[in-house]
Amino acid sequence: MLGFRQSPWLIHYDASSCNGCDIETLACLTPLYDVERLGVVNTGNPKHADIFLVTGAVNQQSREVIRNIYHQLPEPKVVVAVGICAATGGIFRDCYNVSGGVDTVIPVDVYVPGCAARPEAIIDGVVKAIGVLEEKQRDMAAMAHSIDRTLFLRAEKEDVPEILALQKVAYQSEAEIYGDESLPALQQTLPELQTDFDRMVFLKAVVNGKIIGSVRGYQEDASAHISRMIVHPYFRGRGLSRHLVTGMEQAFPGVRRFEAFTGHKSKRNIAAFSRLGYQIYKTEPFTPLVTWVYLQKDLHTTPPSAPESKPRSLCHPENGRALAAAAKDSARIHLSNPTP
């Protein structure tokens, strides 16, 4: 595709280790290798970059920086881990402060081997990254075009790993807000989520066979609890969360009171729930960094929301099931890496 192939701009960051791979990365810009002939620009500014080159193992100090840079790259973006330290932690793996490769913090698309990685290998990695970049761009364009054909369906047991991967991507922005990666949603494991699946109702928003949003809920006494409203960062601000929450409310037809909670700094979430008629009724400190804000909607006191917000596809379960089956057959689209 014209554009992305000819113009990959990159930013490089040395997370730790011996700095050898970083020097080799810069060597790519020298007259001998001259990556600029491929259109590569070494930007030094994440907001202008397409490819994030990380060298070195991740330690406690660099993880925040890596995450910060990653979030400032506009979509579509690709991460290249250069050198064995960036891939696995290398010989620094067992150090007390090293958590391992770059993929312990952010999703990595291309691994370049070597210690230090040779400039030729790094250039090869960048060329591979361009392929991934194009693929992501294509997928995103396709999905963005069909966003108005989003299906809102009950999730099935097979969807759980994909929902977990989406959850990790979606909650990155929350970790960014609070500067805290120990949020429960980011710590959740696959078995835990599978247990959740057995006791909760899961809804999913599907475009082109790819889950881009999800919400879960369960009933306790006379109230329904709605939690983990997740939408892929690329598709936010398009009303998906409204459809998901109203869909979830309809999943509990007898219930008159709904409850949800979010962090105190998550202004977007609070605003989204407020628009749907939810009101804050209590706050509760969770960690020194996060205070939970509890919201409720009591249909005994508030009138029911307008019927136009009813999700369309919940009315056509057979249609949805066919699509979900088709999705399973088609190749998986990697908007984000599945969690390890």
């Binding site: 600029e36 002939r37 030094g44």
Partner: protein, 283 residues
Amino acid sequence: MSPWLRLLIFLVASPIVGGLLAGLDRKISARLQSRLGPPLLQPFYDVIKLWRKETIVVRRSQNLFIGMFLLLVVFTGALFFAGSDLLLVIFALTLAAIFFVLGAYKASSPYSFLGAERELIQMMAYEPMVLLTAIGMYMVTKSFYVHEIARHPQLLVLALPGVFLGFLYTLEIKFRKSPFDLSSSHHAHQELVRGITTEFSGRALAMIEVAHWYENVLLLGWIYLFFASLPWLGISVSLAAFLFVILVDNVFARLKWQAALKSAWIVAIVLGFGNILVLSLLR
């Protein structure tokens, strides 16, 4: 040629010419550094790509200012090539630059703040000389209208050699090239990240690039005006001036803002004002 036709040609051709010039710039710079360099069409690939990227903003309004910047640069160029008043062109161009600065201020980032401040300093540095250029052209041709200046029978540069050299100095600042790439450098890893453009991404950045293409064509058009009575000489000197700017960019390191401001004003006073003084005394 009717002014409307010239206007149309400017609107259509200058992004193409400007983009090709930008590509030529990168190619020649690479060759000067004994590299191969990107293809000639690289700036177009970059803009196409940027157009497809996600646009991340700090405040949504920052991109509105960039839209105004592009619009006013195109408007300024249109005024110039339609043969309008040179003073109006200068003020419209200043307004465009002010919108660019406002956009950067809007983004609330220390890097883009500093870039915006330096852009203002650069504007202070070049504005006097640009005004003196218009005044010098008026003194020779008795008109501020571009179409009348262009129709003047003699080579303006013969009467205005100082003003021409001073304008060349200004060109170096307007192109944001070394030694005056204070507000935003095309070279990576400067102390300001990317200065005034730091906080712009995606379509906004693409619009900034296209605005620069229009702006560069306008400035080279101004160089042409000094040689307007011999069109082919004018075109070759414009191109030569562009190559000269690239050469200087590759030869010099960046100046401090104090030195940039001082030297630009000294040039404006000695070459620009001196030239005009001599003209008025000789009369």
